[in-house]
Homo-oligomer: 545 residues x 2
C-alpha cells in the first residue's frame, strides 16, 4: 500500500517546495561517462574482507567525467529501498534516480520496495511514475515508499531477495541506508554476483546521526537538516533561558552511537555545556565526573549572577560511561536469577563500584533500572531519560554544596528531548541538492555496470556545480568484528574525533561559552535568501573550509 | 543588569532580521491625531467595576485618524515593562514605542524596567538608546530588559511604583503583558490618576496562549509565532509517524487555561485526534471518556491498517475535567492530615467516584500525586505529564480490548511536550508587524494624554497599511470575581468558543482527520516569500476572512 499524497493536503510551503529547482553538479549536466579510479583495500583486516567478499573486494572507485560519446545502455529496470530510520532528503535520492533514468535511459522502469528490506523479501513494491515521484520532491519523511528495519541476512532471506530481483528482472538496486544497511547492500551485491544474477547494487549514505562518513563520503544525508532543526529549538530555548533567568535547560539530542549531532548543535548555538560522549569515554569519566563538571559550571555561573543556562547531552551518553555499562551488566545478571528484596539485601551481589554508583543514582532511575525490562528481561537502557537523571543528580549535589556554604544560587532544571522532530523535516537546500546528486549518481553507476559501491558526492564546500560525483567500493569502508566466533563485516561508525577540527574548535571555545553567554539563535531553516545555502559547521570544518 | 547583545554572536538569520523592514499602518505613517470614540462599559458587573475604577470606568475608546495639524506635546519620558511569560514580538513593541517617540517627539527618553514589574518597584531600569534597541529588532525573547512575574498589588507596592515614576518624572508607562498584567496596568492607571500623578498607563496584549482577546483586540501577540513553531514540529512528527507506521505520538502543547494553541495547531496540521479542553469541560467528560474516545479511534484506525497517528493534548486538560479537580482537592485534604499507608487503607477517605478514578490512573501518576507536593503541601497538578498518563491509560484499555478480541493492532506511544521552544522564537512577519504597530500606537496614546487603555490594532486580515489603530478602555474588558469576600477586577480569559468559527471548522473535519490521514506539514517559518505573510487560521476564521 503506497501512501500516495493528495496535493489538497499540502501546506503552502510544501507546495512551493515541490517546484524548488534542484541544481546538478556540472559534470552530470553535460554528457559524462563513469571511469575507474585506483583499486581499493579495506578499512581494516583486508585479508578477512577479501575472504568475505571475493567478488567485491579491491574494486576501484568510480568517477563521473565529461565525455564526448557517453555509453548508453538503453532502458533499465531499477529497484530502490529505504532502510532504517528516516532522514530528511530520502525522497530526493529517489527523485535523482528517477530523473537520471528518465532523462538518459528513456523507457526505464523504477520500482520502490515498500516498507524497507522486507519489501524486497516479500516482493512488495510500487512502480514509480513521474507524477507519483513529483509529489514527494523536496518533501521530508520516507512516506513515499516507507522504511523498515528488517535485514536480509539468512540464506532463506537472500533466496527471497534473489527471487524478487529475478522476477522483476532488475538490472540494479539502490539501497538507501546507514552503516548496517550499506554493509547489507554489499553482501547483496556479492551474493547476486556470485549467483550470476545481473542485478547490481549501489548504496547511498543516510543517517541524521552523521556517523557514516569517510574521505570519499564526507557526510551522510539528513545530518544537515536534523541538526538545523534541533539548533532552531535550542536557540529558542536559550533565548527563553536568558529572558527568564531562572531555568537550566537540559536538552537530550538524538544520536546514540556518536555525538556528532550534539557537537554540531553546540557549534551552531554556543550552549554553556555540551557533553560529548567520545570525550567521556576517552577520559574514562564516571557519571559522578560528568555530574561534577556540570555542577561546577553552575556554581561558577551563580557567582556571576547567572542562575540559568543550557546544557546539551547526547542520547547515547550512558553507553559511553564504562561504569554504567558494568552496573547494567551486573543488574541483568541479578535480575535474571535473584529476587529484588525491599530491604536491599540483593545489593550485596553488586560489586563495590557498582553499588556506589547505584546508590548515587536518583530513586526514579533506580526504580526504572529494576522494573522496566525488555522482552529478554534486560534493563532498558534506551528508555532512561538521561536529561532528567542528570537534573536530579545535579540538584542533589547543589544541595550539598549549599549546605557546605559554597553555593548560593538557585537551580531549576527543565528537561527536553529533541528527536523525532528532526528526522522528517523538509530537507534544507543543502540536503535537497546533495540527495538529488547522490541519487542521480547511484543511477549512473548502475547504468555503467557498477556494483558494490556507495554513491559518493564530494567537494561539498564548493558550489553545487563544482561537486565531484562517483562511487566508492563499499568493501573499502569495511573492517571485521568477531561475533559468535565468526568474522562479520562492518562499516565502522565514524565517531567524533577528539583531534578533529570540529571538536577542536568546540574545545577551544567551551570555557568562554560556559561562563559567559554567547548564545546564538539560528532560527528556523530558510529556503530562500543567502542563509538558505549555508552548510553545517561540522562538514565545513572537516573540509577545512 | 542589561543583557545587551553582542552582534558577534548573531546567526546569519538573526543579522538579516535586524534589517527587516517593518511596515506601519497608513494612518501612522502620515500625520495623525488620537480622537475619542463612544464611551465604554464593562464586560460584566459595570457597577462594581465603576466602584473599583472611579477614574477609569466608562472611558471612551480612542482611534488614530489622519490630521492636517496634529498635536505635538514635545519630548516625553516613557517607561516600559515586560510582564510574565515570553511571547515572540515583545522586542518589537518596544521598537515601536521607541520609533514613535524618536520620529514624532524628538528628545524623548525611554526607560526599560528590568526583570518585570519588580523593576518598577525597585527602580531598576536602563535607558533605551537607539543602538541598544536596534540590536533586538525582530528578535525573539524578552532578553532586552527581561521579564518577571511579580505583581504590584499591595499599598506598599503601589507606593514604590509611585516613587519610581515620580523619581523618573515619567509621563507614561507601557505595560506589556497578559490578562493579569493588563488588569494590573489599569489599577496602576487608576492609582496614579487618583494620586494626581502625571504618569499615564497603557497596556499591550501579550500571550502565546491566545486567551487575551476581544472585538477591539483580535489577538494577543506571540500566538501566531508560537503556534507556527509548534505546528512545524507537529508536521515533522506526523511525517515521521506516516513513514514508520508504528508510533502514536501524543503531543502536549502549552496553554494551561485555554486550548487555543491546540485548536490552531490542529487547523494547521490535521492530526488524528485533538482534545479541546473547553469541549471536555462543557460535556462534563471524565478521564475515562477521554481515554475511551482516543482508544476508539485507535481501534478504528487499526482496522484500516493504520497503527500510527498523532494526538494533540492541551497542557491544561486535567484542569478541564471536574472529577480530576475533585480527586485532587480530596487528596490535598488527606495528604495534609493523614498518613498514606502502604496497604492503601487511606483510600477509604476518598469518596467513591474519586476512588474509582484514582485506581484508574497509571501507577506512576498515582505515585506522583502522592509524593510530589508544592511548598504548600499541595499536589502539583502542573507537573503531571498528561501525555504520558494518557499513553499509559490507552495502553491498558487496548490490552483489555485485545483480550476481548475486538482489537488486533499494535500500539506504541511516543510522548512529546512542545512548550519552551515556542515562547522565544523569532517573531513571524505578522507578529513582527503587529507588535511594532501595537508599540507605536501605545506611545501615540500616551503622548495624546490617554491612560487606562489597551493598545488596539485591528482589521488584521487586511494588508498592514489598512490596519486600524487605537486604544480600548481596559475597564471595558473587565468583570469582577469574588475572592476572600471582596470583589476583584479581572479580565476574563477568552476561552475557545464551541460555537465559534475555528472550533466549528475543526469539528466539521475531525472525523475525516481521525480515520483518514490528512496530515499537513507547515514546515519552518519563512521570512521571505508569499508564505511568509500568512496569518494563523484562528484569527482569519474569527475575522470571517
Amino acid at each position: 500500500m503506497a501512501t500516495g499524497r493528495n496535493v489538497s493536503v499540502y501546506s503552502p510551503l510544501q507546495t512551493s517546495r515541490l517546484d524548488h529547482d534542484l541544481p546538478l553538479p556540472s559534470v552530470l549536466k553535460a554528457p559524462f561517462d563513469i571511469v575507474d579510479g585506483p583499486p581499493s583495500s579495506a578499512a581494516g583486516n583486508p585479508d578477512e574482507i577479501a575472504k568475505l567478499f571475493p567478488n567485491m573486494f579491491g574494486q576501484p572507485s568510480a568517477k563521473a567525467v565529461p565525455s564526448a560519446s557517453p555509453k548508453n545502455t538503453g532502458p533499465v529496470k531499477i529497484g530502490v529501498v529505504l532502510s532504517g530510520g528516516q532522514a530528511p532528503g530520502g525522497h530526493n535520492v529517489i527523485c535523482g534516480i528517477f530523473d537520471h533514468l528518465h532523462q538518459k535511459q528513456d523507457g526505464s522502469k523504477i520500482y520502490g520496495f515498500m516498507g524497507g528490506p522486507a519489501g524486497i523479501m516479500n516482493c512488495k513494491y510500487t512502480e514509480l511514475t513521474s507524477e507519483f515521484v513529483h509529489a514527494y520532491r523536496n518533501q521530508g519523511g520516507f512516506d513515499m515508499i516507507r522504511s523498515g528495519r528488517d535485514k536480509i541476512e539468512t540464506p532463506e532471506q537472500f533466496k527471497k531477495a534473489e527471487e524478487t530481483v529475478t522476477k522483476l528482472d532488475l538490472d540494479g538496486l539502490v539501497v538507501i541506508g546507514g552503516d548496517d544497511s550499506n554493509t547489507n547492500a554489499c553482501l547483496l551485491a556479492e551474493n547476486f554476483r556470485q549467483k550470476n544474477l545481473k542485478t547490481k547494487v549501489i548504496g547511498c549514505p543516510k543517517t541524521i546521526d552523521g556517523d557514516l562518513k569517510c574521505k570519499e563520503v564526507p557526510v551522510s544525508f539528513g545530518f544537515d537538516t536534523a541538526c538545523k532543526i534541533y539548533a532552531e529549538m535550542i536557540g529558542n530555548v536559550m533565548t527563553d533561558a536568558r529572558s527568564t533567568g531562572k531555568y537550566y535547560h537540559f536538552v537530550r539530542l538524538m544520536g546514540r552511537a556518536a555525538s556528532h549531532i550534539t557537537l554540531e548543535c553546540a557549534l551552531q548555538t554556543h550552549p554553556n555545556i555540551s557533553i560529548i560522549g567520545e570525550e567521556v569515554a576517552s577520559q574514562k569519566q564516571t557519571l559522578r565526573n560528568v555530574t561534577d563538571y556540570i555542577t561546577d559550571v553552575i556554581c561558577k555561573r551563580a557567582k556571576t549572577g547567572y542562575n540559568y543556562g543550557v546544557i546539551l547531552i547526547p542520547e547515547g551518553l550512558i553507553d559511553f560511561i564504562p561504569e554504567v555499562q558494568k552496573l547494567i551488566a551486573e543488574l541483568n545478571e541479578i535480575l535474571a536469577h535473584d529476587v529484588i528484596d525491599e530491604a536491599g539485601l540483593w545489593k550485596s551481589k553488586l560489586n563495590e563500584q557498582s553499588k556506589i554508583l547505584f546508590d548515587f543514582l536518583p530513586q526514579a532511575i533506580q526504580e526504572q533500572l529494576l522494573l522496566e525490562r525488555d522482552p529478554h528481561g534486560n534493563v532498558q537502557v534506551a528508555k532512561i531519560e538521561t536529561e532528567k537523571m542528570l537534573i536530579s543528580m545535579v540538584e542533589t549535589e547543589l544541595e550539598k554544596r549549599k549546605l557546605a556554604g559554597v553555593y548560593e544560587g538557585h537551580f531549576k532544571g527543565q528537561s527536553h528531548f529533541f528527536g523525532y522532530e528532526g528526522r522528517c523535516g523538509m530537507p534544507t537546500n543543502f540536503d535537497a541538492s546533495y540527495c538529488y546528486a547522490l541519487g542521480y549518481a547511484a543511477a549512473a553507476l548502475l547504468c555503467s555496470g557498477k556494483t558494490g559501491l556507495i554513491s559518493s558526492v564530494a567537494n561539498l564546500a564548493a558550489p553545487v556545480e563544482d561537486w565531484t560525483v562517483g562511487g566508492t567500493a563499499l568493501t573499502s569502508l569495511m573492517d571485521v568484528e568477531r561475533r559468535h566466533g565468526k568474522f562479520k563485516p562492518v562499516i565502522k561508525k565514524a565517531m567524533v574525533e577528539l583531534d578533529g577540527a570540529p571538536f577542536s574548535k568546540f574545545a577551544s571555545l567551551r570555557e568562554d561559552w560556559a561562563l559567559n553567554n554567547r548564545y546564538i539563535s539560528p532560527g528556523p531553516i530558510q529556503f530562500v535568501g543567502p542563509e538558505s545555502y549555508a552548510i553545517n559547521h561540522t562538514l565545513l570544518l572537516e573540509l577545512g573550509a
